[in-house]
Symmetry: C3
Subunit: 333 residues, 3 copies
Amino acid sequence: MSDVFAFALGLRHKNADDRVLDCLFPQPLIHPQGDLAEAVQSVPSGCTELTPEVAAKLAAQVGLSAKLAPLLERDEPLVAVKLVDDAPITCIEDAYLKLHLLSHRLSLPNSLNLERIFAHLPNIAWTSAGPIDVNDLDQAILNARSEGLNLEVFAVDKFPKMVNYVVPTGVRIADASRIRLGAYLGEGTTVMHEGFVNFNAGALGPNMIEGRISQGVIVGAGTDLGGSSSTMGTLSGGGEIIVSIGEQCLIGANAGTGIPLGDRCTIEAGVYITGGTPLVVLDEDGQPVREVKGRELAGHSDLLFMRHGLSGQVICRTNRQAIELNNALHAHN
Amino acid sequence: MSDVFAFALGLRHKNADDRVLDCLFPQPLIHPQGDLAEAVQSVPSGCTELTPEVAAKLAAQVGLSAKLAPLLERDEPLVAVKLVDDAPITCIEDAYLKLHLLSHRLSLPNSLNLERIFAHLPNIAWTSAGPIDVNDLDQAILNARSEGLNLEVFAVDKFPKMVNYVVPTGVRIADASRIRLGAYLGEGTTVMHEGFVNFNAGALGPNMIEGRISQGVIVGAGTDLGGSSSTMGTLSGGGEIIVSIGEQCLIGANAGTGIPLGDRCTIEAGVYITGGTPLVVLDEDGQPVREVKGRELAGHSDLLFMRHGLSGQVICRTNRQAIELNNALHAHN
Amino acid sequence: MSDVFAFALGLRHKNADDRVLDCLFPQPLIHPQGDLAEAVQSVPSGCTELTPEVAAKLAAQVGLSAKLAPLLERDEPLVAVKLVDDAPITCIEDAYLKLHLLSHRLSLPNSLNLERIFAHLPNIAWTSAGPIDVNDLDQAILNARSEGLNLEVFAVDKFPKMVNYVVPTGVRIADASRIRLGAYLGEGTTVMHEGFVNFNAGALGPNMIEGRISQGVIVGAGTDLGGSSSTMGTLSGGGEIIVSIGEQCLIGANAGTGIPLGDRCTIEAGVYITGGTPLVVLDEDGQPVREVKGRELAGHSDLLFMRHGLSGQVICRTNRQAIELNNALHAHN
């Protein structure tokens, strides 16, 4: 077993005061084994700026010589980041490394220690000229203008967008500004223009995502999120329950959930289910079995949620028999 | 009558392996007549790369000499695409030509044969350096970085955004990333930041669009889509019914429809009507006439849909008398 | 007291026909006093193109020498805009000056005379090469292509995005294309990817904004707008009532309001309250007190709006006693 949690060679942008703005890791490693483990053994743990010789040697050992050739040729300063274990974040470089691990599909959302990430990521102006210290932006806009250039500012945020750093295979992303670095997009996932995926959140693939995947939320294979559908995040009022959505679910357009769902669940377009929503559960014959709060159904499979057009009642249909259903619900109480 | 369905002179981007990435047609023709028909007669059908002489001659004949002058001067390779009929799509060039026909307002949504378009459009990284083969993107990011440049990736998708290719007259588009090439935006249409228009979909104009127009959906003159409102598409769970919205309608913010609407219809903010929604129809005096499913009202005019705040019932008000209404509903059954 | 309402030194883009496209004011002044008032006294009112000498002198007097140095060195033509009072807008320069006053936090939304702003702002193509006259765009795309360059079109709109002109301190903006110049973002405000802020609208800060702040809407300190939540604007069907939201409110995801709210109000996720929504008010013991229309609760504090999952009724809970509540409601009738 490896005694290194993660390792990567990367490139940083810095401002005029030598403050690090971001970090790009073209091919991070998790739990490096064998030759790779040996290669990184001599590297100190933490963040190390490399001499050109060491950079070239390490690049060769971790299989990055070809990719990094244009940088190595110019003696572009490279950095090595070696994390011995998955501890809370202590600097911008290890924050970026963990976000890369997620987007490179080397770690699943909620599997990494991201404690203190907000404290260590600086607020950056993401521009057509690359990342700029937000304090330097005013002057940068005027300087560009004096040279007859346009400086386009895309965002002012702690997190960059994923695709400037990582483009996983087999995905389509209609509006890249809506996927943060640290999103996990599985093979076969399409994120349409209205879709959004936060860091430490993701779709395991294949998925059609036209809704919002909040921080901490994982969506299973074959599940579709309709346009503007919402998954409640723990960062924004969702409370203690971590929402997740199983496989083969369909969350309708403008619908949403504040509870985790199992597999093969459907929420009708325009209906929002929260933990506190009182609703009626119907059995396979459409007969009412019980009144419950949304949270009592958390994680169950084969549920169809809708609000009835005539009674105004939120109902949950299932394909199970009343007795089986009653037992299942009791088991979760 | 012309024996040519469509013709255009265009410009392509290719990758290093000569694979075509996209195609720009500054002024496509549909059913060319008279002199134009004669000009294109000698061009073989399908996609033909032109010699500089032929390119210059054709450009003059189809009225593109001035526009294309900077390209012709450099002997930039041009391509001619001639479609004899509106057959299924066979290559990227004819896919792009049909998308241009829609955005140039030469064809209405749902009037073109777009069969196999997904199969022939490659997945492209749309970047600040233009389209890049998605397989070349990783290296392109590093190469840019080694030259001190920023490569901004805007999307990874089969469809580009419209305004890099076509900007129809008399429109405003607040966020261009949300309008795909192949969208049809009529004169006088404003698409606000929350608006979205897919390919083969559109607003006939004038319209205020702050909601989503899904593939295949057409919105009539004078109709407003409120913020985040949804039209259900056939590509994503809308089933067999093609949604369309007539003239002078108002779809409220966060509302949506899975059924086609006639003229002068309103859906209250936050209400989603699907084909399966049970609802109560009220006559001009507010008296209940009938319980129906949403789909029975498909295509009717002068309807106001809301969910009552006290009964929770979805109701549909109209300005018609009960008896007239009953007949109209029967006629559609 | 100052006899000048506002003053600024700025930079304009023009097209080939000398038509002004936009205007950047790095540091506008409102009601300049003392030395500043004296400095601008000699400047004619309205819009004046400055000679290099006058520009340099004025820049020094208003404290902009350092910032504008790269422009002054090149004798870049600067413009002075001096508004004696807050009159209706008469040209593009004073429109831009007022939009800058808002985004620089020098004026609150709804405090400026913006009459005729739509008439004086031209429709512009906002591109990677800066603003382009929309009539020149087709040719600009082809010219760029002939030079092997990509011209990226970000928007075709009367209003530019804020952050290309003003980046207020202490804010995060995840997708800059969704904040128009003229938005007011107070210290400590985060606008997430789904957030939107129109011109003459804003969040006083600190706020977490994941919903849409329509033109004319102000959101108070400590209030959160959930993902895709909606505030109804007067420009788009909201009618006469100007919506505002007080302090410490929470508008749930996919929820919305067409009425102004006081402090500490909550709207449950997925619920839309309009002025016409009939609903039941419950007192602190959960007992029904009265049926009202939404508009009767306009501006009240300490309200919780939800739609009950079993009755389908829209209810409004409060922490007040029935009798107190009844009086408060009567007072507003």
